[in-house]
């Protein structure tokens, strides 16, 4: 695999090759290597070990833009990409909003991200991965004899890459990524007569930039088992209004959608419910969110964005008030704002923790549903409508009564954001959206 420095050289060379034909050229190159094994029932089932490369070139001239991408980074491959953009740019029309970034913005933020654990990576031989996957699976299925393994997966990958542009700027980056998880199935004898063959399947996984930051195999096994067995005998809740708690997994998907709604590309296209909302109160004053590209060992941490603009940390929501959108160069220009290093979206979208645990939230809920899983595409950030399938647990007077499934929760993003009345402090660092469990005051549940 190419080193970070080699990637930088190739990207810079590519810019030199195309530079004279265009006003502005930028190149983004990534090279990755991945090792993954999956075991099931004590036997290796899948392994993969691969390297790949991808290079994208974006060129512009007279307000016209074209791009090409490919995996062939040999001199011939590079020439082909350049000849492709030369052909494509002829049919593109000038875009009156096109803008070349200001040279001063381009660069790399001077921060330490601690993005690689090469020692950990080198220790991940196929034999080691297999041994750990087998061990994880054994630990999980031995907890309860009804459990069937759906497969335990352990993987490691590393990435290098570089950005280069016409301002004679080029910079590399690198990272490692480790993960481990298991899925489990159990026969579910409950359920009504027409629902034959029902099973419950669930699991747990952990991801980290440094090997030793992964959750332990004991914890992963325990959580996977508890999530799988917890849903046994689930039934539909009654239709009506409930307090709704999202555990950190469900909360993450909600806030990931919110990060899309504040991203410049969706905004300038008019495809967000948060158009022209900077400075407005969009959420409960309990809610604060910041964009933080500099979290050490953060999954989404970076020093510059896809435009090569220096990364920066800033508030997105402060005590319920929308402070900033996430902007790349083009979207910022369209919206009459300044780019803030978010071409391609958020780096780490960090919801400020409240206090207490998920259990505390449940204890403080009189009649509600704890949502532990969500399904479907019903979170529409364009209109702000929200309606999704869900599963979880019915709560009464601070106690979990029974597991529930096959129901939907509905409302709008705005009502949900304003209705947040409790935030826990249990966000997981395993993802680039760091979201703790939250409670929404009231949502419509459709069940039986």
């Amino acid at each position: 695999m190419e080193t970070k420095e080699k990637c930088r050289e190739i990207a810079a060379e590519m810019v030199r090759l195309a530079k004279s034909d265009f006003e502005y050229v930028r190149v983004f190159l990534t090279a990755s290597e991945e090792r993954e094994v999956e075991v099931r029932d004590g036997k290796p089932e899948n392994s993969s070990f691969s390297e790949s490369v991808s290079m994208v070139i974006v060129v512009s001239r007279d307000g016209r833009t074209a791009s090409a991408s490919g995996s062939d980074i040999s001199p011939d491959g590079r020439k082909f990409l350049v000849s492709s953009v030369q052909e494509l740019i002829k049919v593109v029309e000038p875009d009156p909003w096109y803008i070349i970034p200001e040279k001063e913005m381009i660069g790399s933020a001077g921060k330490k991200l601690d993005p690689v654990d090469y020692e950990g990576y080198e220790s991940r031989t196929v034999e080691q991965l297999l041994e750990e996957a087998m061990d994880l699976e054994k630990r999980a299925v031995s907890i309860d004899k009804r459990l069937i393994s759906g497969g335990a997966t352990v993987s490691a990958s590393r990435l290098t890459g570089a950005f280069a542009c016409s301002f004679d700027f080029s910079e590399g980056f690198e990272g490692t990524d480790f993960s481990m998880g298991i899925s489990l199935t159990v026969d579910d004898e409950a359920g009504d007569s027409t629902n034959v063959g029902r099973k419950q399947r669930n699991g747990w996984s952990t991801t980290a930039v440094h090997l030793h930051d992964l959750e332990s195999r004991v914890d992963v096994a325990r959580k996977a088992v508890s999530r799988t067995l917890g849903q046994l005998g689930s039934r539909k809740p009654p239709t009506g209004e409930f307090e709704i708690i999202f555990d950190s997994t469900s909360s993450r998907s909600f806030f990931a959608a919110l990060s899309q709604a504040v991203s410049g590309t969706n905004l300038y296209r008019g495809e967000s419910f948060l158009l022209d909302a900077v400075g407005e109160s969009i959420a409960s004053n309990l809610l604060s969110i910041r964009e933080d590209p500099f979290l050490p060992r953060g999954i989404g941490s970076r020093l510059f964005d896809l435009d090569g603009v220096r990364a920066m940390s800033f508030p997105v929501v402060e005590r319920g008030v929308l402070k900033n959108y996430l902007l790349g160069v083009y979207a910022a220009h369209r919206l009459g704002m300044k780019p803030n290093g978010c071409a391609g979206g958020s780096s780490n979208f960090v919801v400020e923790p409240g206090n207490g645990s998920l259990d505390d939230l449940v204890r403080e809920t009189s009649r509600g549903i704890l949502v532990t899983g969500l399904m479907g595409q019903g979170a529409d950030i364009r209109t702000g409508d929200y309606s999704r399938g869900a599963e979880g647990f019915l709560i009464e007077n601070g106690e979990i009564l029974y597991p529930v499934s096959e129901f939907t929760i509905s409302g709008t993003f705005s009502e949900m954001l304003k209705g947040i009345d409790r935030i826990a402090a249990d966000a997981r660092p395993d993802f680039s959206v760091l979201a703790p469990a939250v409670r929404f005051r009231k949502m419509v549940v459709a069940g039986s």
């Binding site: 995996s71 002829k90 049919v91 034959v196 509905s410």
Partner: protein, 470 residues
């Protein structure tokens, strides 16, 4: 660009196989994919992109274990190296190569390109995309934003396996999607439409004109301007012909993929021969429908595709399998082994999955409903394989009141349980229709699929809207 096909010979394949010491089966999947995209936004042709993806994936199977690796080149030396990684987990097995002689597998003739994709100039694409824009804009002055994306892809495929079989195929695909926004005051609504078929650019003459695709998106956006919040609770649901095939894809399609059966994760495990749906339901997965998005001359393991009956008159007949699951579960191979690209091993996937036609007229089906929901277009769906719970998300739906379709409704998700919902199918229409939409199925890997359905009624399904007590 490749002029004379993928430069990899049977001798090259034999060399790769001769280096494999362990395992019982191996195959090499070589792919050269060229995609060209154009995008219209703000009324101008704003960007154009070309992407080339080329490489070879190699798999070494040892009983139930699979080792996989790939390289992004066609150099035999690189493929040999990848083969070394792929056999790393193979424990034993005596590897047998039968490359001598060789048997060529010819793909079924289910698609072609009358107007070839690769040879068409980029500005022809621009003209087609602009006609979509004209169709949408011209429909109503309330349409204030239109985005058109068109991508055409030609996939050259070359496969060799250690049984001495080999074959090549060229798979075209045109995918066009349009999003239109309608505005009235502070009320914005969106409509979407598109077309996705295995054809050349003649698709726009033969299947649907660009203007018509644009108008459809505009019409949907305008309809939704007047939509009111959907009701919440259990009620009858009528699914319009065509796109509602999402129901079949999610509720029974995924749970009948043989890998879930093998892992005993599917609610249909061990139930062949049982009544699993209403006797009105016959469900088919077919890889041979001409020009369909899910058509394949052979699958990604050289297995010829066919029409596979999954459920017949409500009785479970079989599963969709790939080579490994067919062997392990002792099933006849169905030709459902598919992969997203050379970077991925094949797994059981759907092709074009649909419910066959029934006898009722659509008007009659609707007229019998006192209060329910009528769904026309869909944003997508999802299923929990194990419990059978599935959702599907309408993007265009209406209330049915006293046997008549009345107001459009918005913001709803339908949720049901596959084995349960299919027993509640109480009317199947005589108006079967395949969707021509841009359906992509994601199961770790993304592949294009086809869906279809006649008008179908489910006597009771949970409708998740926000209008409680409505």
């Amino acid at each position: 660009m490749l002029k004379n096909g993928i430069p990899f010979s049977r001798e090259d394949a034999a060399r790769v196989f001769s280096g494999i010491r362990k395992g019982t089966f191996s195959d090499i999947f070589l792919q050269y994919r060229v995609s060209t995209s154009v995008r219209i936004e703000d009324g101008i042709l704003k960007s154009s992109t070309r992407s080339v993806s080329a490489g070879a994936g190699i798999r070494v199977v040892d009983g139930e274990s699979t080792g996989y690796s790939f390289c992004e080149s066609f150099e035999p030396g690189d493929v040999v190296r990848a083969a070394g990684f792929a056999q790393a987990i193979a424990a034993s097995g005596k590897f047998g190569v039968q490359a001598a002689g060789g048997r060529r597998i010819f793909p079924g003739n289910y698609y072609s390109q009358k107007i070839p994709l690769i040879k068409t100039a980029v500005d022809e694409r621009a003209k087609l995309a602009r006609r979509v824009l004209d169709g949408a804009k011209g429909f109503s002055p309330l349409i204030d934003r239109v985005t058109v994306n068109m991508t055409d892809t030609e996939d050259q495929i070359l496969i060799f396996n250690s049984l001495g079989e080999w074959g090549m195929d060229v798979r075209p695909m045109v995918t066009l999607s349009v999003s239109a926004r309608a505005s009235r005051g502070e009320n914005f609504q969106f409509g979407r439409s598109g077309i996705g078929m295995r054809m050349g650019f003649e698709v726009f003459d033969r299947v649907e004109s660009p203007e018509s695709i644009g108008r459809k998106a505009a019409k949907q956006a305008l309809t939704m301007l007047d939509a009111r919040p959907a009701p919440a609770g259990a009620m009858p649901v009528v699914l319009a012909a065509g796109e509602s095939g999402v129901l079949i894809h999610e509720s029974v399609g995924h749970p009948l993929e043989a890998d879930f059966i093998w892992k005993k994760a599917s609610a249909y495990t061990g139930r062949v021969g049982e009544q699993v749906a209403s006797p009105l339901c016959t469900v088919v997965d077919d890889g041979t429908i001409p020009s369909n998005r899910g058509a394949l001359g052979f699958d990604d393991e050289l297995t010829p595709t066919k029409r596979s009956v999954l459920i017949e008159n409500g009785i479970l007949k079989g599963f969709m399998n790939d080579r490994i699951t067919a062997e392990t579960l002792k099933l006849e191979r169905s030709g459902n082994g598919r992969r997203e690209s050379f970077q991925d091993p094949p797994i059981p996937r759907m092709r074009a999955t649909f419910m066959s036609e029934g006898k009722s007229s659509p008007e009659e089906i609707i007229s019998e409903v006192k209060r329910g929901v009528y769904c026309v277009a869909f944003a997508g769906g999802q299923v929990n394989i194990a419990s059978g719970d599935f959702v599907f998300v309408p993007s265009e739906a209406y209330l049915i009141e006293n046997g008549r379709i009345t107001a459009p409704i918005k913001n709803l998700t339908l949720i049901g349980n596959g084995p349960d919902a299919l027993t509640r199918v109480d009317r199947v229409g005589n108006d079967f229709k395949l969707s021509t939409g841009t359906w992509i199925c994601g199961k770790g890997q993304s592949v294009p699929v086809g869906i279809g359905l006649p008008t179908v009624r489910i006597s009771r399904l949970t409708v998740g809207g926000a209008a409680n007590g409505d």
